[in-house]
């Protein structure tokens, strides 16, 4: 089945130790998103790729970066995680067209010690 896959599902890192989260998709969608979701809150958009065009939200911390080496893969790099970066990170994809329905991965739960 076509899907959005996130690895790992759970990630534990130490304060200040860089971490990379990965997302892959078999849907061949041209738009990919990274969201941060804290407990009992709605997902908050960090950035998205529209094809190869990178779009950073204005309030995304500089600590967060992303790479999209090809259509299928997208990475979220957190250079120096702080305690406040502990959250669920969701990857989503869509295809430009009529409805812009987003397809979500299962998420990566990041713990910062």
């Amino acid at each position: 089945d076509a899907m959005v896959i996130q690895n790992p599902r759970y990630q534990v890192t130490q304060f200040g130790k860089p971490v990379t989260l990965s997302c892959s998709q078999t849907l061949n969608h041209n738009v990919m998103y990274w969201y941060q979701q804290k407990s009992s809150q709605a997902p908050k958009l960090l950035f998205h790729y529209y094809d190869k065009d990178f779009n950073n939200e204005a309030d995304t911390p500089d600590n967060f970066q992303s790479r999209r080496p090809n259509t299928s893969f997208c990475f979220l790099d957190i250079r120096s995680p702080g305690l406040g970066d502990a959250a669920m990170y969701l990857c989503a994809t869509t295809k430009t067209g009529a409805s812009y329905e987003q397809f979500f991965g299962p998420g990566t739960r990041l713990t910062v010690l």
Binding site: V4, S40, A42, Y50, A92, Q102, P106
Partner: protein, 112 residues
């Protein structure tokens, strides 16, 4: 700017009774509207979507929603709640790939 208002942060129903989760959107044009469900430690799953076709939209697991332009509403309903429906529900408005607006979410509790 777009905004989506979910009128209840928590809804509690008994198993077998109807569910109503309320959502209002702000767009003056005809939007794309979605309801997503999120179970604990899971990603978001699409329940249903409205894309300017039929105003009554049927989704998965017995859920449906009615688009009412005059009220700028897109409320989610289900005739009979099941224990497995307990989750967080998000109403989302999408106008373009660069602009997606989430409501704040409604936590649904289903009592036995």
């Amino acid at each position: 700017a777009q905004s989506v208002t979910q009128l209840d942060s928590h809804v509690s129903v008994s198993e077998g009774t109807p569910v109503l989760l309320r959502c209002n959107y702000s767009s003056s044009y005809s939007p794309s509207l979605f309801w997503y469900v999120q179970h604990p430690n899971k990603g978001l799953q699409l329940l249903l979507k409205y894309t300017s076709a039929a105003t009554l939209v049927k989704g998965i697991n017995g859920f449906e929603a009615e688009f009412k332009k005059s009220e700028t509403s897109f409320h989610l309903t289900k005739p009979s709640a099941h224990m497995s429906d307990a989750a967080e529900y998000f109403c989302v408005e999408g106008g373009s790939a660069r602009q997606l607006t989430f409501g704040s979410g409604t936590q649904l509790t289903v009592l036995p």
